[in-house]
């Protein structure tokens, strides 16, 4: 079934897009990542213009996060205080990101920067997660209890930041500046890469801050919900690249997928789930790295003036 996308200016197979949304939604429900790191590259690969892919996948993540946040808040899995601080940082970050996006677009280096960001961040996080989850799986196989996730609860640079707030859900007593900065960085990435930043937020909260694992996924989704909503607005005001039909198709798949994923994850052991996510993240990173070094199909690219 072919459908014409009014902003992207091409017709796509609607079922393929719904299916793509479904897979991404399942990942989102299982791991608390928005799944933008999969949607954006796959859409670009399908022929959707990069700007439209980035903007529309942000819109899609908003919808996917809603159902996740609702599910987690029912289980008290969202630290709203931490979430609000992250969102504040994220809002500032997405506006700054919008300016950087424009600058890079002008110099023509936006594609390279996006690709490099993907390779470096996904590679780094994927490797870290893979190492940690493999250790955990090995330990359970030998009959030992899985080693506790090694986090320093007290990091000197975080403790050095002025002013401390109590985050009850997260079980932390730290300066709000630390999550504010983290929120800012993920906001930047959301605009530049069309991701919700979950794949940065989750490990950062877990390993860097030592946030209690119970609220990590929910809080990350909460932050993603607001930051992607802001990003949708920034993109529709600056680049006019949000395609409602494309986002709608993705949403049909991803909201259903998210529900399936969140019930599926309860049947899988957490360390195995983390290993799966690590594998997916690493695959995307490797594919992106190859894309940078292989001779591209199109040496020439065109930009409207």
């Amino acid at each position: 079934m072919h459908l014409y996308l009014p902003i992207a200016g091409l017709s796509v197979n609607a079922l393929v897009i719904v299916l793509l949304g479904g897979i991404v939604g399942m990942l989102s429900g299982m791991f608390g990542v928005g799944g933008g790191f999969l949607t954006t590259p796959l859409l670009i690969f399908y022929g959707v213009p990069p700007a439209v892919a980035v903007a529309s996948s942000a819109t899609q993540i908003t919808g996917t996060s809603v159902s996740g946040v609702l599910a987690h808040s029912r289980r008290q899995g969202v630290d709203f205080r931490m979430g609000t601080v992250l969102v504040t940082g994220g809002a500032v970050g997405s506006f700054v990101g919008g300016i950087i996006f424009r600058l890079l677009q002008k110099t023509g280096q936006i594609d390279t920067i996006i690709n490099l960001l993907y390779v470096v961040l996904l590679g780094w996080i994927g490797l870290g997660m893979a190492r940690e989850s493999v250790r955990a799986v090995m330990a359970t196989r030998e009959g030992k209890p899985p080693p506790p996730i090694t986090t320093k609860r007290h990091r000197r640079w975080i403790a050095a930041l002025p002013g401390r707030w109590r985050f009850y859900g997260a079980g932390l007593y730290i300066s709000p500046l630390a999550p504010l900065l983290l929120g800012f960085l993920t906001g930047l990435l959301t605009v530049l890469m069309g991701v919700s930043g979950g794949f940065i937020l989750v490990p950062a909260m877990l390993y860097l801050f030592g946030v209690s694992a119970r609220v990590v996924v929910g809080t990350s989704l909460f932050q993603g919900l607001f930051v992607t909503a802001t990003t949708t607005l920034v993109h529709s005001l600056t680049t006019h690249a949000v395609d409602l039909v494309l986002a709608g198709l993705l949403l049909i798949g991803s909201v259903t997928g998210a529900q399936i994923g969140s019930s599926l994850v309860q049947r899988v052991r957490p360390e195995r789930a983390r290993m799966m996510l690590a594998l997916i993240v690493l695959t995307v990173a490797i594919r992106m790295a190859l894309g940078l070094t292989w001779r591209p199909d199109a040496i020439y690219t065109v930009q409207l003036l």
Binding site: H2, L3, Y4, P6, I7, G9, L10, S11, T59, Q60, T62, G63, T64, S65, V66, S67, L70, A71, G108, Q109, D111, T112, L116, A229, T232, L233, H235, S236, L237, H240, V242, L244, V245, A247, G248, L251, I252, V255, T256, A258, Q259, S263, L292, T293, W294, R295, P296, A298, I299, Y300, T301, V302, Q303, L304, L305
Partner: protein, 278 residues
């Protein structure tokens, strides 16, 4: 544009040849009218072109279209049609300024490093001919009328060396060819008994919107003896038009609507599945 202007100049030329010099406008007109039958009798054949659609609507199910261009060749004075009549049809989309970037391998990765501006690049170009281009008209004529992809005037604007400009032009044209926006359909025009012609030109799904022109050229012995132009309007229609215009003219409302829709869909799914599970 240049091709059409040339045509106009030519048409004026044939008329002014017979008009008497230095007479009052009224007399001049009379003279032209009086000379008209004779003029037609002496002149080359005339083209009467038509297209299947002067308006192509891009709606939700648009996967491309086939444009049928057809028409008749009128021979003045009941002259018998000649067999060696050829027709070329050129369809052009609105011209736009473009920046073409070239990638190069720097420090192991491929990055954009050089660029070239082009002032007017047709967003779409298709030519259909009854015979291979090189057997149709001379290279000079083909260049003047922009018949054939290699004869397009893209007007590079950087002032770089000719070799460099050619390199970028080739890159740009190849890119357009691959996406189906530039195409040559050799043999796609059939001329029946030298009187009727028809050409079927496919319009791809990724066609840019705007005002298109279809130029038809009648060719005999390597010379263009008649030309005619029809306009074709390609635009989004219905819901697609509404969405595209809303995104352009009401960005704030559009963005808010997008957020609201995604929030609602997320909510509906969460509530729906919650019920199912219970």
């Amino acid at each position: 544009m240049s091709a059409r202007d040339n045509m106009r100049v030519m048409a004026c030329g044939t008329v002014s040849k017979c008009a008497c010099p230095r007479t009052s406008p009224k007399k001049k007109l009379l003279a032209v009218v009086a000379a008209l039958p004779m003029l037609l009798g002496a002149s080359e054949p005339k083209l009467v072109p038509d297209v299947s659609d002067t308006q192509i609507d891009i709606a939700y199910s648009f996967t491309g279209a086939n444009l049928l261009l057809f028409g008749a060749i009128l021979y003045p004075g009941g002259r018998t049609p000649s067999a060696d009549t050829d027709v070329a049809v050129v369809i052009k989309g609105p011209a736009e300024p473009l920046l073409v970037r070239e990638k190069a391998k720097i420090a192991g990765i491929w990055v954009n490093h050089a660029s070239e501006r082009f002032r007017s690049v047709p967003s779409f170009y298709a030519v259909a001919t009854s015979r291979p281009l090189d057997k149709l008209v001379s290279a000079r004529t083909a260049a003047i009328y922009e018949i054939g992809i290699d004869n397009l005037l893209l007007s590079p604007a950087n002032g770089s060396s000719a070799g460099e400009q050619a390199r970028f032009e080739t890159g740009l044209v190849n890119l357009k060819r691959q996406s189906g926006l530039y195409a040559e359909h050799v043999g796609a025009v059939s001329v029946r008994e030298g009187v009727l012609y028809r050409a079927l030109v496919p319009i791809p799904a990724r066609v840019p919107v705007g005002q298109y022109t279809a130029e038809t050229y009648l060719i005999r012995n390597g010379h263009i003896v008649a030309a005619a132009t029809r306009e074709i309007d390609i635009g989004k229609s219905g819901f697609e038009r509404f969405v595209a215009q809303a995104a352009e003219h009401f960005p704030l409302l559009y963005g808010l609507a997008a957020i609201l829709i995604s929030l609602l869909m997320g909510l509906v799914a969460a509530i729906g599945f919650g019920r199912v599970r219970r």
